[in-house]
Homo-oligomer: 258 residues x 2
Amino acid sequence: MHNGKTYIVTGAASGIGAETCRVLRADGARVIGIDRHEAEDVDEMYLVDLSDKDAVVKLVADLPNDTDGLANIAGVPPTAPADVVLRVNLVGLRALTEGLVDKLADGASIVNLASLAGNGWQTGLPQVKRALALDFDSDISEFCEVEDLDSSGRSYFLGKEALLVWTFQNRWTWRDRGIRINAVSPGPVDTPILGDFAATLGKRFEENMQKLERAGTAEDIAPAVGFLLSDQSKWIRGTNLAVDGGMSAHFLSAQHGF
Amino acid sequence: MHNGKTYIVTGAASGIGAETCRVLRADGARVIGIDRHEAEDVDEMYLVDLSDKDAVVKLVADLPNDTDGLANIAGVPPTAPADVVLRVNLVGLRALTEGLVDKLADGASIVNLASLAGNGWQTGLPQVKRALALDFDSDISEFCEVEDLDSSGRSYFLGKEALLVWTFQNRWTWRDRGIRINAVSPGPVDTPILGDFAATLGKRFEENMQKLERAGTAEDIAPAVGFLLSDQSKWIRGTNLAVDGGMSAHFLSAQHGF
């Protein structure tokens, strides 16, 4: 499925990013990793802080041409400062993707790691639109203050909601070159940042975990990312694939009473 | 991904069903086909009319134990009489699945071929709930008359809406045995029934096709069914995977103004 392809994976050093690298390489792909920390299972590595505009601009210039896909897995948890969350999970991700797209091969696939935490995008849409107006030249700290994101703990949710809406928006943006974009939305996954979710969500986290028979693992999520990166999914565009043990179906069921 | 597995595929003789059989067998699976017509690319074949209660009961009794998954692909188009549409696409599908589930292997995967035509399930929910109360012992013809399904052309949409809701409902029904259920929702696909959609939808069909750069093909859809049948997707439960060239994202975008 991935033999002879080259993919770029952010967040390559740990969790779902590291497992995505492993899955792709085990299936014959060449993997270029991006992370703040060294990654183990990659063919080439760029050490970059995706919250830093200059670093992202340099990264785009340094990355090779004609790669077959980009997996935007890097993300910081809800316990990080609100502006850092938006910088890494939304603004940096977009800057990297929009900067890189001209260098991608025709037919390439972009996969964004969203989250079950982004499910509320319809309710949050006015704020989502304001978040999508941000770029690296915006005063992101001021935005977080005006929107009360730090004390409300909403930055992570808002970032994921905006990432989903941005994925839907760009369903056809690069279609003339066969380049497509999709999202994968995991439920609670047993990675280094699971404890941060527990801390932020408190009782709500516990209730969700009681509904699930177990937390997900990076091994549950990476194959879905791999499938959406591959040519096997080339008519899938602007889609959000929930990989959450059934939580989003459960929320639909509770919301609509069926 | 499918090596050494055995899958049951309905609608095996043509279109997406036939391509699903081909994909699974090419990857090392054994495939048991079900259709009204003989299928080419199967290891074993059952000739069955899924609108016939007795035939479905006999089929369930005849099928072997411990198969690894069921792909419910068989479906009749919107040009068929309303009661036949509901019998095959909803009532027969459920009877087969609910009858067979005890015989499936632990960890098996059930995949329902829904449709972009089922996207309106939220709006149609009261009627969807009435449709989900039907079984083979109901007077389905009377239901179609009372609900005005024949002259409104709604039976196909209602059947797919109900199939999606039923998929969400059953996210955890067989979880203690590791059995899961998901849906794949294609957009307009170039199969033997594409012309029936054009006839039923008229102008709406043409408008949708103008948005898409091309219709989908069975080759676009079958790998998604294959992925959801495989163990690679085992934490995916009660999910609807859109494989529609971006149409559902386009509808979201139009509906919410982004």
